[in-house]
């Protein structure tokens, strides 16, 4: 019996793992290729790093390839990213040319593998052009879009649409992100890995060590927001909410933890603003953490009484699922994918203003029983909906459906079917 998958059974339940095995049995031996733009850093790479070994263990032949390019290529795809999420970014022609040349060069290298695969998952816009460059493909090609396409900048979307329209299917995280495309668009939310450093159970002494490291008093209430120093995450709004809540909750502490500001000019500016806003208060801890500080983030979230994600714009917000998974109610901005995770009065509260966040912080801190009840519901909610095993099941199901023809209400997989 396999080991990696078995490790999930105590967390998710045996039935979930059994279900994965049943589904994968119908796909055994199929060749699958995932292509994205990086092996490390970012949510997509994090998910693939765990998803691919699990698919392999389930009997699929899976490869993970990465498109590589020069600075013009990355500048172009960064502009794509911003434009597709709504910024009116005019992209110069030479950057489009760099994008196409990079795709062509990488496609040359990967074409034999891609054209022979039964399923090709192309993640995000970076390698999206591969489809056009593999005319002899024999398998099903799926464009997996991880970004918020709800209001894209039209000229850039028109270009990207021309690249992805020919795919056999696409996958979006939320219904509002789907576009009008001439193929089936599946809706699959992302997930967190309960066994990763960021989410695995920690011993109390490890949590205490992190509290000591950052001068946090475990006897006093703590609220934590983990996210990049980005205006869309509204860190200044969180500080305002903290100050309002502290008027009636003495001893309240706040941690704003994030990373990656050093190589992001705007992030640096936001970090400076946040540090300035926090300067006069020793109970506001602004922490710039290295990108691999997963266990530290895990410990901070576990040390918190309440996790906050007060974004004013958010694709999905996996830090919400991380907080919920640690049994913490989450006070989240009433936007994007946070709405799917924070259920008012059940797993936390959706808020539109710092005042709203302050009100909910005070409400939860004055009623520890309620806080614990909501935390327990929050963890169960993630267990049932946002763990990697559900994500993997959905990918397997998409492959099974594509093999059978996807324009049907149901498919029945017998035990002997391939």
């Amino acid at each position: 019996m396999s080991g990696l998958l078995d490790a999930y059974a105590p967390v998710t339940g045996e039935a979930v793992v059994h279900h994965l095995r049943l589904l994968a049995a119908r796909l055994e031996g199929r060749r699958v290729v995932h292509v994205n733009s990086t092996r490390v850093g970012g949510g997509v790479a994090e998910i693939l790093a765990k998803m691919i070994p699990l698919m392999q263990e389930l009997g699929l032949q899976v490869d993970w390839e990465v498109i590589t390019g020069e600075s013009d290529f990355y500048q172009c795809t960064k502009s794509f990213h911003n434009a597709l999420q709504g910024d009116p970014v005019e992209i110069p022609r030479h950057l489009y040319q760099a994008y196409e040349a990079t795709n062509q060069r990488n496609a040359e290298r990967l074409r034999p593998l891609l054209e022979q695969a039964d399923f090709v998952f192309i993640h995000d816009p970076q390698p999206a052009m591969f489809l056009k460059l593999c005319p002899n493909r024999r398998g099903k090609w799926i464009w997996r879009c991880h970004i918020d396409l709800s209001r894209p900048f039209r000229p850039v979307w028109k270009y990207m649409e021309s690249q992805v329209a020919g795919y056999d299917a696409s996958i979006f995280s939320l219904s509002s992100y789907a576009r009008s495309l001439p193929h089936t668009q599946y809706l699959i939310p992302p997930s967190i890995d309960p066994l990763s450093d960021k989410n695995i159970e920690l011993e109390p002494q490890e949590i205490r060590a992190v509290q000591e490291q950052f001068g946090l008093d475990p006897r006093r209430p703590l609220i934590v927001q983990v996210s990049r120093f980005d205006r869309f995450k509204d860190p200044l709004g969180v500080i305002r909410a903290y100050r309002l809540a502290k008027q009636l909750t003495s001893g309240l502490q706040l941690v704003l933890a994030g990373g990656g500001a050093a190589d992001d000019p705007e992030g640096e500016a936001v970090l400076a603003e946040v540090s300035a806003a926090a300067e006069d208060d020793p109970d506001v801890h602004v922490l710039l953490l290295p990108p691999d500080a997963h266990r530290t983030i895990n410990a901070l979230q576990r040390a918190a009484d309440i996790v906050v994600q007060k974004s004013v714009k958010e694709g999905f917000g996996l830090t919400v699922a991380e907080g919920l998974w640690k049994g913490k109610p989450v006070i989240g901005g009433n936007v994007g994918g946070i709405r799917l995770q924070v259920v008012n009065h059940q797993t936390g509260f959706l808020v539109d203003t710092p005042e709203g966040a302050a009100l909910r912080i005070r409400y939860l801190l004055q009623d520890p029983t309620r806080l614990r009840e909501m935390g327990a519901k929050a963890r169960q909610f993630v267990r049932e909906n946002f763990l990697l095993t559900r994500h993997l099941r959905d990918y397997l199901a998409v492959m099974a459906v594509l093999l059978h023809g996807d324009n049907v209400d149901r498919i029945e997989l017998t035990r002997t079917a391939a």
Binding site: H19, L22, L23, Q185, L187, V335, Q346, D409, I411
Partner: protein
Amino acid sequence: MTASHPFAVIDCAMLSIATGLSAQNLRELRDRLRSVPASSLYFHFWGAHLRPGFDEPEYGNDFALWARHGLSDPALAERLSVIRPPGFGDLEALREELVEVVEQRLYEREVVPWAPADQEFHFIRSTLVVLDTGTRLETPEALGAALARFSPGSLFYHFIDALRRPPEGADDFRAWLSGFGDRYSGLIERIAGIDPYFVTLSRLGRELSQAFAAQVAGGAA
């Protein structure tokens, strides 16, 4: 006495699929309701059981939920929430009732209610992937004992999805138990009392287990 065949445990997974259709106001909702695939109605009434979402939803279907939170029309939300699919012969009859309720509300309102720009109603349909688990249960006692280990997908398939399959209007548990003659009529009656529209899958599992424990232990109706 035994049934003519063992109980075959089936599992399923639901894939959500965007239809590309959405509504920003109540009039658009009515128009889309007239034309969306029936599988979209199925999804918005039953899909909540199997898709990422909270286990104890405020309203029983997505249309009522949107009326309340998207359109801020609690009266419409209440009227939509009492529409129970089992009360209609098929999804087309359900569609007619939905359109009727929305039409009535449009007639009552002086201004067509609108949702905020980022809270459109997105029509979604689904594909159900049905899997035979290979597990076969020979007796009601064995079925009762196994229920605690049923996945949410199995409970959905045998209790909710079964309502769309012959025999009409019966879940798989009752259909199978009826093969034992009158012996389990008490259990069949008790299962019939569970309303699939308002019960969550986790509660459904508990209620079924309790029903089997109480009735099968006695061995008779």
